[in-house]
Structure formats: C-alpha cells, structure tokens
Symmetry: C2
Subunit: 419 residues, 2 copies
C-alpha cells in the first residue's frame, strides 16, 4: 500500500486542479450526500436542487390548482418538443429534430422501424454483440414482425462492427459509449462508413449525452436515441429522447402511432395522419411529473461548455487510471476501459475477480460505483459534480479495499437482486 505521503501529495495536487476547474461551481447545484463520492452518475445522475422545486411546482401548482387547464397553461402537451429543443444543442442537433418521450427501449423500436422504412430494399440490422442488452432484445422484437430481417452482430459475426456493414445493411444500431467497458466509438467514422454503404445509423447515446460534444449534425447522423437519467440528471426513469435528422423526417413512419403523434390530435379523426415533424415519434400521453425534473437539469447543462465538460471528463478518468495503475494493479485489478482517452467515455471499468464484493465494500465506505457481470467495477466521472480530489479519495479507498482484501467480509458478498 502507498504511504500517507503519497496520498497527501496526490490530494494536494488534485485540490489545486479543483480550484482552477471552470466547472467547479456546478457541484453546488446538486444535492449529493456529504462525504459521498458518487461515481454512479452513469447509471442515475444526482438531483439538481432546482429539480425538486420544479417537480413541487408541477404537483402543487400545475396539477393541484391548474388541473386540466395546465395542458394548455403549463404547456404540458408541448413538453416533448420544448424539452427536445432544449436538449438539441447538447447533442449537436437542431431545433425540431429532437423529441423527449417514452423509454429508450421503446424509442429504439420506433427508430429501427423508421430506418427499415427508409431503406425498404435492405434487410440487415448490424449491432454490437456486447451492446446494452435492451438494444438486442428490441431488435428481436422488431424481427418478430419482420421475419425477412436478419442481424449481424459484432463479436458473433465478425470482430469489428465496421466490417459488417455492406450494401445489404439497412441500419446500424450502435452505442456511442459502451455501457460496460466505456469504449467510445468514433461517431463520424462509423456514420461515414455506413453512409458509404448506403446504410443508416441509429446512435444510442445513453452513455455519452451530457459528457461530450456528440455532434450529431456535424457527423451527418441519421437517427439517435438516449436516456436522460444518467449524465443528463433528469431523475429516476426520466423520459428518453429521439433524434431524427430533418432530411429524414418526411420519409419516416413508425408503428407506435398513438394520438400524440397525430398531425391534429385534438381533431379526433378516425384515421392516423402522422405529424410532419419530430412529433411523429410520439405515441401516448407523457408522464408529466417525470418530465418536470428534467427541465432544470437540461438548463443547467446549457450554462456550461461541452468542450470544458469533455476535457475535464478526460482528465478525471486519466487521473483515476493513473492512480489505479500505481496503487491497485498488484491486487489483481486490470483496466477494461481503453487507455487512449479518445477511445473512452466518461466512466472507467476495472476487472477484478472479487468485483461484486469490492463494489459493496466501496459503497459502505462512501465511494459509489457499480458492478456488472461477471467481474466488472464501473466508476463514472461526471464532470459537473465530481472533482479531482474526489478521484483521489476514490482511488485511495479502492486501494484500501483491495489491499486489505475487505471483500472477504461476508457482509459484502450477499447479492441483492438489482443494482
């Protein structure tokens, strides 16, 4: 184990960097339990103080007092596109190209159908075998009603996604950042490769939106989905979003054709006519209370420069990897995430045979990361509320847990059903 001197030096250097950090003020905007180093914002972002007030206003003022009139007076019906327009610059999209609604799984279903409709002569979906599973499950759901469609999976049908893309491919469904390893894809290169083959790409931005310049339109992206409860801090189960490039909107049809996606929903026509714009991705009535926590979170993020956020994200993960290299490698930890910063998202994945119990021991010591099967510890570094000193504290406690084999304690070895 490193001595006190090593850690004091590291902590002092980190504290200096925190002072100079242009984002240092953002932490005060969040409610985070004191003494906790919260490294699980890649799973559920913490609560912005303003979100609590916004939800309270939605409940006690808009619902309780405004009642049905709030559909107009509080713009409830327009929230999906209002928030979509707010979110658009965060992912490099334009107004009218993003709508907030439903869940990521459901939006993957919609965008897969949309892409297949835009490429009617093609029948192959390319995806990652190691994708967050819901992406693969939803592809199965689409194929249930499209038996003519088949898949090619990275890992199963070839080592590299890019080599699976050819003129038979309708659409590539790919995560910008892998949920386990934190590997980051080159959004522009994958998009270009797909377009060269005449295919479309659906980007799953769950682990990238909010921590980097996604740059959808700069890359000529087609479609994207993502969640808002990780780095966008929208609250537990906050609604998902869909992006569709304006040039595709005319040709898009998707089968979840509920009344909110109708061109004139309050005319109560018998026949469905999709909204000509991004609202065509809507289906049913949206959960207003779950929306409302998202608003202050998005507005807060817009106050900062995504280049600063990405630069700090890289610096935080670099520091953590360096500290783990220097202090933990001898205890059986290996780095799962890419070493090259440009290939890494905002979390660091480590492998250790006792990953599960180690994560529990860390949580008991105030360092909240999470575990993924079979042997992965994930640590998310969200630049808005994690500082350099937090990184040092987390690494030091990780060393303690591993060096002291704290994971042997039976209290940390009982598995919960969900994490």
């Amino acid at each position: 184990m490193r001595d006190e001197g090593y850690w004091s030096l590291m902590l002092a250097a980190a504290a200096d960097r925190d002072v100079l950090d242009p984002l240092v003020g953002a932490r005060a905007l969040f409610e985070i339990p004191s003494e906790m180093v919260y490294l699980d914002g890649n799973s559920l972002g913490p609560m912005p103080h303003a979100s609590a007030f916004e939800v309270e206003r939605a409940v006690r003022h808009e619902w309780a007092e405004g009642l049905i009139s709030s559909w107009n007076d509080a713009d409830w019906f327009a929230l999906p596109t209002l928030y979509g327009d707010t979110l658009a610059p965060i992912i490099g999209a334009d107004r009218g190209e993003v709508v907030v609604c439903d869940t990521t799984s459901i939006n993957i279903y919609k965008t897969l159908h949309a892409a297949l409709a835009l490429r009617p002569d093609r029948r192959v979906i390319v995806a990652e075998g190691g994708s967050f599973p819901t992406d693969l499950y939803v592809i199965e759901g689409v194929m249930a009603s499209r038996p003519d469609v088949s898949t090619r999976l990275e890992g199963r049908d070839g080592p590299d996604l890019l080599d699976l893309i050819d003129a038979d491919v309708a659409v590539v469904l790919v995560n910008q950042v892998d949920y386990r390893s934190g590997r980051k894809r080159d959004l522009m290169a994958v998009t270009e490769k797909a377009h060269a083959a005449g295919a479309l790409v659906i980007w799953d931005l769950c682990h990238s939106a909010g921590v980097m310049e996604v740059g959808l339109n700069a890359a000529g992206a087609d479609l994207a989905v993502g969640c808002t409860y990780k780095y966008l801090n929208g609250g537990p189960g906050a609604p998902s979003f869909v992006f569709a490039a304006k040039r595709h909107l005319d040709g898009i049809r998707q089968p979840l054709s509920g009344w909110w996606g109708h061109a004139a929903p309050f005319r109560f026509d018998q026949d469905y006519a999709p909204d000509p714009g991004i609202r065509k991705f809507l289906c049913g009535t949206q959960g207003i209370l779950s929306f409302r926590a998202l608003k202050p979170a998005l507005e807060m993020l817009l106050e900062y420069d995504l280049r600063d956020i990405r630069a700090k994200s890289v610096a935080l993960t670099e520091l953590f990897i360096r500290l783990v290299d220097e202090t933990c490698t001898e205890y059986g930890v290996s780095l799962m995430s890419p070493r090259a910063a440009e290939e890494r998202g905002s979390h660091v994945a480590l492998r250790h045979p006792e990953a599960y119990a180690s994560v529990q021991a860390l949580i008991a010591r105030g360092v909240v990361g999470d575990f993924r099967m079979p042997d992965v510890m994930r640590f998310g570094f969200a630049p808005l509320y994690i500082g350099f000193a937090d990184v040092v504290r987390a690494a030091r406690i990780l060393e303690e847990v591993l060096a002291g084999e704290v994971w042997r304690d039976p209290v940390y070895r009982t598995r919960a059903t969900v994490t």
Copy 2:
C-alpha cells in the same frame, strides 16, 4: 329560467343526500380549488394530498439521498407489479395479472400483438368506429407490420359491434365506456359473445376503472388496458396499466421486448427471454416520479367499496340529467349519453350548437367540464369528490349560461389549441 325557489329546493335536497353519503369524507383527501365544481375528472383527476407528499419523498429522499440504491431500497424496479397488484382488485383482477407501465397507446399495441399471437389463424380486429382515436391509430400501426390483418369497425361495417364478431375475428378492442357519449358496454355480454366465436377481447378501461366494479375475472376477460390519470387520480400522464388473465400469460409474446420484460434483466444476456409472468408486458425503464403520485391514489380508492362508488355515480348522473331536462332543454341542449343508468358510465355528455363557448363560460364560472368536437359538452361525476350539491350548482350555472346566451361573449369563443 327556474326561480330561486326551485334551485333552493334542489340544493337543500342535495345537501341532505350529501350528509348521508358514505363517501362524503373522501373529498377532504383531495386538493380541489375552493369554489370550483370539478367535473373533468374523466380527463384528469385532482390531486390527493398524500400524492404531493409521496412525490416529495421520492424526489428528496429516494432520489436525492438514496440515489442508485433506491432501485433496491425503495423498490423502484418492482413498482410496476407492486402497483399492478394494488390496482388489481379495483378492476376485478387477481395478483400477478396487472402491471402498471408506459402509456395506454403503447399498451394497446402490446395487447393487440399479444392477442394476434394467441389467435394465429385469425386475421380480423374488431373495434368501434367511434372509439377514442388512439385505439384506431394503434390498430393502424399494428397493421403496418401485419398486412394480412384487416379491421371491422362498428359504425362503418355494421351498426353493432356484436354483429361483427365471427370465427375470423382474432380480437375485439372495445371501450367499456365511450369517451364522448359515456355509453357503457356490458362487459360480460361482449366477452361472452366474443368467446363464443373463439375471439379474444381487449377492454379499454380508461373511462371505467375507478368508478365501477369492472369485474374482469368475473366476466372471464382476456386482456385489458387503461389509464390511471382519470378516475384513478394518478396525476398528469400517470402510467397506464395492462391486465392479462393468468391462463393467457404463457402464450403471450409482444414485440416491445425491452430489458424490463426479460426473465432475468440483470443477467444482461444477449438473447431475449420473456418473464413468464405479467412483467413480460414491460419494456424499458419506468418514470419513477410519475409512478409515485399514483400510489396514495390507489390506496385511497381501496378504502371504499366500488359498489358504493358506482351507486353514487349513477345517482349523481341521474340527478344531473334530471336537472338538465327540467331547466335546459328549452335552450337547445340534448342528452347524448344513454338515459338508462345501466348503459351509462360516470360522465354525462350533452349536445349544444354552442358547446365550445358554453364550456368556456362554465369554466369561467367555476364549473369545469370539457368540450369534444363538434358540439359535445362532457361533465364527469367522480363520486369520491363530487357531491349532490355540486351537481345542483353545476346545473344551475349551466342554465344561466344557456338561458342568458353567455356563450355569445367573444371572450369564450376563441379556441385554444388543446383541451
């Protein structure tokens, strides 16, 4: 116009009935603006006081303090089935047959696919031409990937739904109570007729759950969906529910196969394996804040007897119809809802050429109903918070508006985009 004596007499009689009402105490559990007669609970139920506290707890305690651990510690992952089991007795279902999730439109999509999968040799969907439009729009969405399927619509293909059901029909999608007229179907008779032809029925309970004994299992029902933000008072855009009879669960597949519907969602398997139970209707991560307002609302309803609720609902609508008959018929109003109580839900629909402006004038006078194209005024009588005296007040103000032709005032004639 009726004189003061008439209305005083009516009000006194109504006040007497309110005193004897076994449900009279429930009103105090809701936040309803004073002086407002809220007759739009068939569109958005008012806020139970307890809901505000519950949402606040979810935000400030479970999210802000519990953070990611609340997925376990606050049972977030289990809410869809926990609340489903709470809701089950309200619609006459058993534990394990109801799940709360997503939106009604999306759940119609799932159940239509489920029904078609259960009847693979049949290709006809029967529905009401006058259905709430989203039901018809979603049928179109299903047909987009099932070109072999066709529809038969009551009103278009025959005057009576029952006569459209034969051995070609896979499923009948039907509203227990019509959203415009308030017409109530005989759930048992329609189910029996469909079953006799070998067809299934999906009941849309949006306008019946919470105001009557629905009695799904007593009628041998197959599938049902409904919303929780009307008579269940779950809050704006509160999640929908799905019912599937236990005997059907094994055979059901639905294409929105996201990770929450997986038999082992946290094993992160590559292949989809549906949960064997009602969770197979789940897809993606649910909006927890929108869920939480629903909990106290359901628990409150369970304190009352649905037979008392239905009896009062009938009495309230009877009284309103009688007062409208006696005071408003001469001003061009006609009753759209059925006169026979057993054929009527919990709202009363009136027709009047100036329905839109009349509704606006009523709202300005504290009587909140709503308007549906082209000439319909709807007045919902939710027995938990509407009393007999409210009915008299509403009828009296309606008479004022119509007799005085208050609807001529230009201020009431400007159309908003949404109601």
